[in-house]
């Protein structure tokens, strides 16, 4: 049995990274020219890593399934990026960012990794500004900050509501410079379908050219996986349609341990589902909860009438509304963390109080905020005894300034005016904290195989704070991996080019081709989406926001059945040697069908409630999540042994030397 070695350096937490960097092996510039690195995925993590590695002198081959690195789903991040710059002078520090992240993650992340993340956070902002990322500025020309949920300081840098886009374009521009120099060879519209190991080390990948269908072999001295999270295991999520877990899952099957798959973040403010045809869910920024009040009808008959379209929300009297977050969590009210808000919404809807036709929606009401802002503005403008209409009008202009683009997006999708009638929201899968297990160097359990960004498990524990995903992706890509990978590659300077005609390549290529041919030749009866939707439904109902032993056991069985059915009855039209989106989806769903089972297994094994993982058996007397630090303060790293059901659990015990473990309370 392999033992997990997290390779966390010795020394006080503040100095670990500095001391470590001083001592690790380096590759001299002349030798870097002889070393190839494959980077799969070109979002924030992969894009920044590819650019930086190329700048250092390595030969980089980068792969993206879209037609450009600029399309990666990092682009959709709205809110911002955290950095402990303390520009606001409000007492922020590396330690505080470290502390907030560990606490926010419900004490299930590795201290040393998180501290390093906080340490390099400032450099990310410097780097991005130097690249020309147009962060928001104040009138003095300096950078502006906003505050985000779960913290007491303002440390979030932002570029309008498109921070992810701007950071990604920054990394993309750095990549472009290296592509132009020939240091990055870019493979757009290519999908990695498996990793090739030679003598136990990752030495290459098999990729499919998505335009021609050609199966290609690519070799390298190290392989970096930066392919994002697996949220699409739910079918409906805020992820992009193409977001998939294939690369992560394929390396798992080749020996990389998969950690904490059950830690998934469900974001509370998404636009609800409107019908069975729904293909994805759209996120509304968390910032809306600053001004919106969340409620459902207090009376079940009102709820029923609303569901049948017989009653308008505005017709419900104040006394008949249940502002359940304010009721249950008076201290934090509508601003409780994401996991708490999501579960509370589900609880009300499960009880029958949902407010749309599907019964899966709650109201996010801005009427109070409009009135409050309107009254304030009326005072500022010196209006005496303003009428209700005047106040509303003034208030709406304030709300429009703050959230105009979000309100417009909502109106486009739902066709209701959120200024006049409350918004409807419902939780949706958003981010996966779990992922491929990596050590302090971001290397997986396979030598030479690295995993960065959302695809790995490292920094967010059981719950991620807002504006931390962008930080982690760029920290890994710009400032961590480029150092740590040298430590490994220093032994490879004499290896020379890795040949792609090795028998190991033959073997993996054959298995890849076999699977593709199977799909095309299998004269099944159902489309890929049919199975994906079925899987998503099981995941959402039984491995979703609240989980219990019975449901999880059922889920495991049901997923196994769907998988069996899939391999028997899946239908993939078209042919191998052409652009074939259905074929692409088939491979991805095949992997989700395995990952989903491990996900449920992990959730079943973790007999506690923490962060995004809520077990109904483990609650306090008043129904809140109950963490079990005595028995579960570990990372569950799963080893693949042939079937998800037979995965072997390895535990990486988490030690909290610098932070005291406390119960989160938002009452």
């Amino acid at each position: 049995m392999t033992t997990l070695n997290s390779r966390v350096p010795e020394g006080p937490i503040k100095d670990k990274w500095t001391i470590y960097k001083d001592k690790i092996n380096l590759v001299n510039p002349a030798n870097k020219r002889n070393i190839d690195i494959i980077v799969v995925g070109t979002g924030l993590a992969g894009g920044s890593a590819a650019a930086t590695l190329a700048e250092l002198g390595y030969n980089v081959k980068a792969f993206a399934y879209q037609d450009s690195p600029r399309r990666a789903h990092s682009i959709a991040a709205q809110g911002g990026i955290n950095a402990a710059k303390n520009y606001m002078g409000d007492g922020d520090s590396n330690y505080r960012l470290f502390y907030d992240t560990v606490k926010g993650g419900d004490y299930r992340s590795r201290e040393a990794n998180v501290h390093r993340l906080a340490e390099v956070s400032g450099a990310i902002i410097d780097q991005c500004v130097a690249q020309g990322v147009p962060f928001a500025r104040d009138y003095g020309g300096l950078l502006d900050n906003r505050s985000f949920g779960g913290v007491l300081v303002s440390r979030t840098f932002y570029a309008k509501g498109q921070t992810g886009q701007q950071l990604l374009l920054g990394a993309y521009s750095a990549m472009n410079r290296q592509i132009a120099r020939g240091k990055i060879e870019m493979f757009n519209r290519h999908e990695m379908l498996d990793v090739v190991k030679i003598d136990g080390k990752a030495r290459g990948i098999i990729a499919r050219n998505l335009i021609t269908g050609e199966i290609e072999r690519h070799s390298a001295h190290a392989v970096v996986i930066a392919t994002g999270g697996y949220g699409n295991v739910y079918f409906l999520s805020t992820n992009a349609m193409g977001s998939n877990a294939t690369a992560a899952w394929k390396i798992h099957k080749k020996g990389a341990f998969f950690a904490n798959p059950c830690f998934t973040q469900i974001h509370p403010t998404c636009i609800p589902r409107s019908g069975d045809y729904q293909s994805k869910l759209t996120l509304m920024s968390e910032s809306l909860r600053n001004d919106g009040r969340i409620w459902v009808p207090a009376k079940i008959e009102d709820a029923k009438a609303i569901q049948q379209g017989k009653l308008k929300p505005t017709a419900i009297a104040e006394a008949d509304r249940d502002y359940y977050l304010e009721r249950r969590y008076p201290a934090f009210g509508n601003l409780v963390p994401r996991d708490v808000a999501s579960r509370a919404a589900k609880e009300r809807c499960d009880a029958g109080y949902g407010v749309n036709a599907t019964g899966e929606a709650v109201y996010l009401d801005f009427a109070a905020a409009i009135f409050r802002y309107g009254s304030e503005k009326a005072k500022v403008q010196g209006l005496h005894n303003p009428s209700k209409e005047e106040i509303t009008k003034l208030g709406e202009t304030v709300i429009e300034e703050k959230y105009g683009n979000l309100f417009q997006m909502y109106e486009k999708i739902v066709d209701e005016n959120p200024y006049k009638t409350p918004m409807m929201i419902y939780p949706a899968t958003h981010y996966t904290m779990g992922g491929v297990w990596v050590d302090y160097n971001l290397m997986t359990t396979v030598p030479g195989l690295y995993c960065i960004g959302e695809a790995n498990f490292s920094d967010h524990g059981a719950n991620r704070l807002g504006a931390s995903a962008l930080m982690q992706g760029l920290a890994d890509g710009y400032f961590v991996l480029p150092y740590t990978i040298g430590d490994y590659l220093a032994d490879d300077i004499r290896t020379g080019k890795i040949p792609t005609d090795a028998p190991e390549f033959d073997e993996v290529e054959k298995s890849v081709k076999d699977q593709l041919e199977f799909f095309i030749n299998n004269n099944g009866s159902h489309s890929v989406d049919y199975f994906h939707k079925k899987l998503g439904l099981v995941m959402w109902n039984k491995v979703g926001m609240a989980r219990n032993e019975k449901g999880l056991k059922e889920a495991i069985k049901e997923i196994q059945e769907i998988r069996k059915d899939f391999w028997k009855n899946v239908k993939v039209p078209g042919s191998l040697n052409e652009l074939n989106p259905e074929l692409e989806k088939a491979g991805r769903v095949a992997d989700f069908l395995e990952l989903g089972e491990l996900f449920a297994k992990d959730a079943l094994e973790r007999e506690e409630s923490c962060g995004g993982h809520f077990r109904e058996e483990h609650v306090t007397e008043d129904g809140e999540a109950k963490r079990d630090d005595k028995n579960f303060a570990y990372v569950a790293a799963w080893e693949y042994t042939g079937k998800p059901s037979e995965a072997v659990l390895h535990k990486e015990q988490l030690e909290f030397k610098d932070i005291e473990l406390k119960t989160r309370s938002y009452k």
């Binding site: 037609d67 500025r137 989106p581």
Partner: protein
């Protein structure tokens, strides 16, 4: 609602391609346009036909992947949105909808409604960056104050999602709006000024080599741009180019 769709089908880059008519029934007005396409594709798979290939990914209007020319306009008749944000309530029962790929010599069709936008990549690679290495010790971010006005204008230009609607809408298939957005983003920032002359020269040269048409200032691109990128950027690029050429 029930609709008649006239959709461009083309097997591959060498194939000639043609408009093919399809009927879809029971379309909900709450569907997004791409969900309507999903429904059509599901029905094609069920009938053992090859589904229609179209580009899409984030389905929330930011990745720039979706690229349909709908009823004569890129991203359809609605304004300020991408195809994935277009909803069926924009159409009426019984409508006939034309769905075509972006048309430009520089954007060859790969399959059906998918075009090759590598020309945009090459333009970016020609100079759409600031030459700074990742080091971890660049100067502090606040050491370069930038006026809010310019930072905001730069952000507005940087909002471009690279979808190519500007080219698709332009009667000349000109890529000026796209190129000028990138040129402007950097030209407005002190960090970008150092390489400004080379950048604009190289990017415009690449743009011309890709076979895009010339700008005749019709302004269609600005109207059709899902992100509302302003024509001012084209004027700014013209200025930058003149400066770079004369000095």
């Amino acid at each position: 609602m029930n609709l008649t769709l006239k959709i461009w089908r083309q097997k591959g880059p060498q194939d000639k391609g043609q408009m093919v008519e399809y009927k879809v029934t029971d379309i909900s007005e709450h569907m997004s346009f791409l969900e309507m396409m999903d429904v059509l594709n599901e029905s094609l798979v069920a009938k053992d036909e090859v589904p229609i290939a179209f580009d899409h990914d984030c389905r929330e209007g930011i990745c720039g992947m979706c690229s349909l020319h709908i009823n004569g306009e890129p991203h359809g008749p609605d304004r300020g949105i991408t195809t994935c944000q277009l909803h069926m309530r924009t159409f009426k029962d019984g409508d006939t909808i034309y769905i075509e790929p972006w048309r430009a010599k520089a954007f060859p069709v790969i399959k059906d409604l998918i075009v090759d936008r590598m020309a945009f990549e090459r333009i970016q690679q020609a100079g759409g960056y600031i030459s700074v290495n990742t080091s971890g010790n660049t100067q502090d971010a606040n050491a370069i104050p930038i006026s809010k006005h310019n930072a905001d204008l730069s952000m507005d230009a940087a909002a471009c999602i690279g979808c190519g609607a500007c080219v698709a809408s332009c009667k000349n298939s000109s890529a000026m709006l796209f190129v000028s957005a990138k040129v402007s983003q950097f030209a407005l920032l002190p960090q970008g000024k150092i390489e400004a002359a080379d950048r604009v020269r190289n990017m415009v040269k690449q743009m011309d080599e890709e076979g895009f048409g010339n700008c005749t200032n019709t302004g269609a691109c600005e109207v059709e741009c899902p992100k509302g990128i302003s024509l001012e950027n084209i004027a700014r690029m013209n200025r930058e180019y003149l400066k770079a050429s004369i000095i």
